[in-house]
């Protein structure tokens, strides 16, 4: 866009990524005022209360789970992995959109990402926190989860580094750490802005400590930009590797329906698909509630819809390839798996999945529907459900009928499976509610860099010359 504006006569046909009439000051206020608001809005309090009830349900379920063991879940041989792993993969996938928006779109110089990146990164962090709970609790003895990490111990043993589950430990913990670093580094300049704008002493102290004395020094900005760009460059292969490794949990196994080479790219596309759907699911209401239409514009909604459409098609290709390969392999078990998937006892789940992930999102081809917030929101809800169903189809339906009919068994989730799943949604939303109220949810400094005033113009010698008569300095501090 910077090049485009330099070319005379060329007008960028796309709407701007920021509403008209903002300057540095009003933009700062627009975002910071949400944090500095003296009261709590009723809608926010109500939302937080409902979400927190969900979180309480999660905490109670975990308490009972630790007390009684994983037997309270419906998992039973041969379905040893069920809701716990479905939810793990679902949450991790949701998290990936945050990294994609903040890192990949930064590298691709998609400046429209600036208003949604912090928000999406926060989503990543909270989604990864929810995801991590499941495998950690699924071990059955979460109090010895530290055994997963390689440390010299009195048992004289080391973890098995040839296992995809071990790769998962490294991938997910690296992902969580790098996402947290990226998020915090992105926050530092804004925390300094909050420190300088705060009216109360305690606010200044808290923001001041978190901002680490950031003062906008040009040298600091230079290093900051380098570090931020490099972090983005590191996060991009990281996010691809994380979901590839998650897919190895399955693809390395020999279960029909898991043992396929298409899994890594297909899982990564699915993750981005689910993640963008979640960004829209949360972004559309937040945008309306806090009147952020000028900062999260229709162009953002449209762009995200298009990303969903594209990744949705890749996912559709994945489904098609699974179908094709199971036939082309000529393998009895593979062919049976596919038939069972479509017409077996859980067959309706497969068709629901196709409806949610493949059929419904096609309405986004039509411009009129991409512009309609209600429809986009509804489609993103369908995708959220669809991506959960996809993991159910892959995990449970491959396990419950494998090689030997004598070992087949239907899987039934218990009430605790559901309370834990919906509990994590509550926990996630609780964290989101706290985030949008107590942290500037849109990067202030990155938005300023998008304003036309932020561009340095050349050839200003005449204008600057003699702008001050007789060397009399005006008041400094206003």
């Amino acid at each position: 866009m910077a090049e485009a504006t330099k070319n005379k006569g060329y007008v960028d046909p796309r709407p701007p990524v920021i509403g008209p009439g903002y300057d540095f000051n009003s933009l700062t206020n627009k975002i910071a005022d949400i944090v500095f608001m003296r009261h709590f809005q009723k809608g926010w309090l109500f939302g937080l209360a409902v979400a927190f009830l969900g979180a309480l349900m999660l905490f109670n379920t975990i308490g009972y789970l630790v007390l009684k063991g994983v037997g309270i879940w419906g998992n039973s041989v041969p379905v040893g992995w069920a809701f716990d792993i479905i939810n793990f993969v679902w949450w991790i996938g949701i998290g990936h959109a945050g990294t994609l928006i903040s890192a990949v779109l930064l590298l691709l110089r998609q400046s429209w990402r600036n208003s949604i990146n912090r928000f999406a990164e926060a989503m990543t962090l909270f989604a990864v926190a929810c995801a991590g709970l499941f495998p950690a609790l699924h071990t059955g003895r979460p109090w010895v989860d530290y055994w997963l990490f390689p440390y010299p111990n009195t048992m004289g043993m080391w973890p098995n580094f040839r296992s995809p589950l071990m790769w998962d430990v490294f991938a997910v913990s690296t992902y969580a750490t790098v996402s947290a670093l990226f998020w915090y580094i992105g926050l530092i300049p804004d925390l300094a802005t909050m420190r300088d704008s705060a009216k109360e002493k305690w606010q200044r102290m808290i923001f001041g400590m978190l901002a680490m004395g950031w003062r906008g020094d040009a040298r600091h900005w230079h290093r900051y930009e380098s570090a931020y760009l490099l972090l983005a460059g590191l996060s991009t292969p990281l996010v691809l590797s994380v979901h590839s490794i998650v897919s190895f949990d399955f693809a390395v196994g020999i279960i029909p329906g898991w043992h396929t080479t298409v899994f890594p790219p297909y899982f990564v596309a699915g993750a981005i698909y689910a993640g963008f759907a979640m960004v829209l699911t949360i972004g559309i209401p937040v945008r309306k509630f806090y009147h952020l239409e000028d900062l999260i514009t229709m162009r953002h909604i449209r762009n995200m819809s298009k990303v969903m459409l594209a990744t949705g098609l890749i996912v559709g290709y994945g489904y098609l390839m699974e179908l094709f390969i199971s036939w082309y392999s000529g393998n009895t078990y593979e062919m049976f798996m596919m038939k069972n998937r479509m017409f077996g006892p859980y067959g309706y789940m497969y068709w629901l999945l196709i409806l949610c992930n493949i059929i419904v999102p096609q309405v986004l081809w039509i411009k009129k529907y991409r512009e309609n917030l209600k429809i986009v929101f509804l489609v993103s809800m369908f995708i959220n459900v669809g991506m959960w169903l996809e993991r159910f189809v892959i995990i449970v339906m491959s396990l419950n009928r494998d090689f030997l009919p004598s070992s087949w068994r239907m899987y039934k989730p218990t009430v605790f499976d559901f309370s834990m799943f919906f509990g994590t949604i509550g926990f996630f939303l609780t964290l989101m509610f706290l985030f949008i109220r107590f942290v500037p949810m849109i990067p202030i400094f990155e938005m300023k860099a998008l304003l036309p005033q932020s561009k340095v113009e050349e050839k200003r010698e005449e204008a600057v010359e003699g702008s001050l008569p007789g060397g009399v300095a005006p008041q400094f501090g206003d």
Partner: protein, 181 residues
């Protein structure tokens, strides 16, 4: 050095209202031979750090160091534990099973490279630094909001209190003030 008699001056600070003005002024300050100059802005301005003569940072080096040590460490950890300290013979398969070590080599490389970027940036920037003399300048709080500041430090060999003051006013500053140490 006696604070009782004369407050030591950290530098002289000039205020500007637009990025264009400060970049223009910074270029002239640099051209006039001042080298110990700092500029402050609410958002990154590429031209500004160039104007005060700061062209190259060394963040990429800390990232490289982090990435290499992470990847090598990840490999050595896996090799030593799986092939030397705790070898398990599974049907005669090689103990140094490189392909299965790749994911963790990659992840640990990324992890330490990211720490390299973050710690490198924080340490080289001299953060955390809760107190800094420039915070004493009146209205400096708006450096994080909508104002741009240029500060010539008193340690600069060319620094000469009143003359530097006049010089900055001549550059079109909207205000110039001394910053106390």
């Amino acid at each position: 050095m006696n604070k009782q008699e004369e407050p030591t001056i950290y530098g002289v600070m000039a205020r500007f209202d637009t990025p264009t003005e400060i970049v223009h002024a910074a270029k002239q300050v640099h051209a006039a031979g001042y080298r110990q100059v700092n500029a402050y802005s609410p958002f990154p301005i590429e031209e500004l750090s160039e104007a005060i003569g700061f062209h190259k940072d060394r963040i990429s080096l800390t990232v490289l160091a982090g990435g290499l040590s992470g990847a090598i460490g990840g490999f050595l950890l896996q090799y030593w534990t799986s092939a030397i300290d705790y070898p398990i013979n599974v049907g005669g398969r090689p103990l140094l099973s490189l392909p299965s070590f790749v994911p963790i080599i990659f992840e640990s490389g990324i992890l330490l490279a990211a720490f390299g970027a973050v710690i490198g940036m924080i340490v080289m920037n001299g953060l955390p630094r809760p107190y800094h003399p420039v915070f004493n300048a009146p209205g400096f709080g708006r450096a994080s909001r909508d104002r741009f500041f240029l500060c010539i430090k008193s340690t600069d060999p060319k620094f000469d209190g009143p003359a530097t003051h006049e010089f900055l006013i001549g550059l079109g500053a909207k205000g110039v003030t001394d910053v106390e140490e």
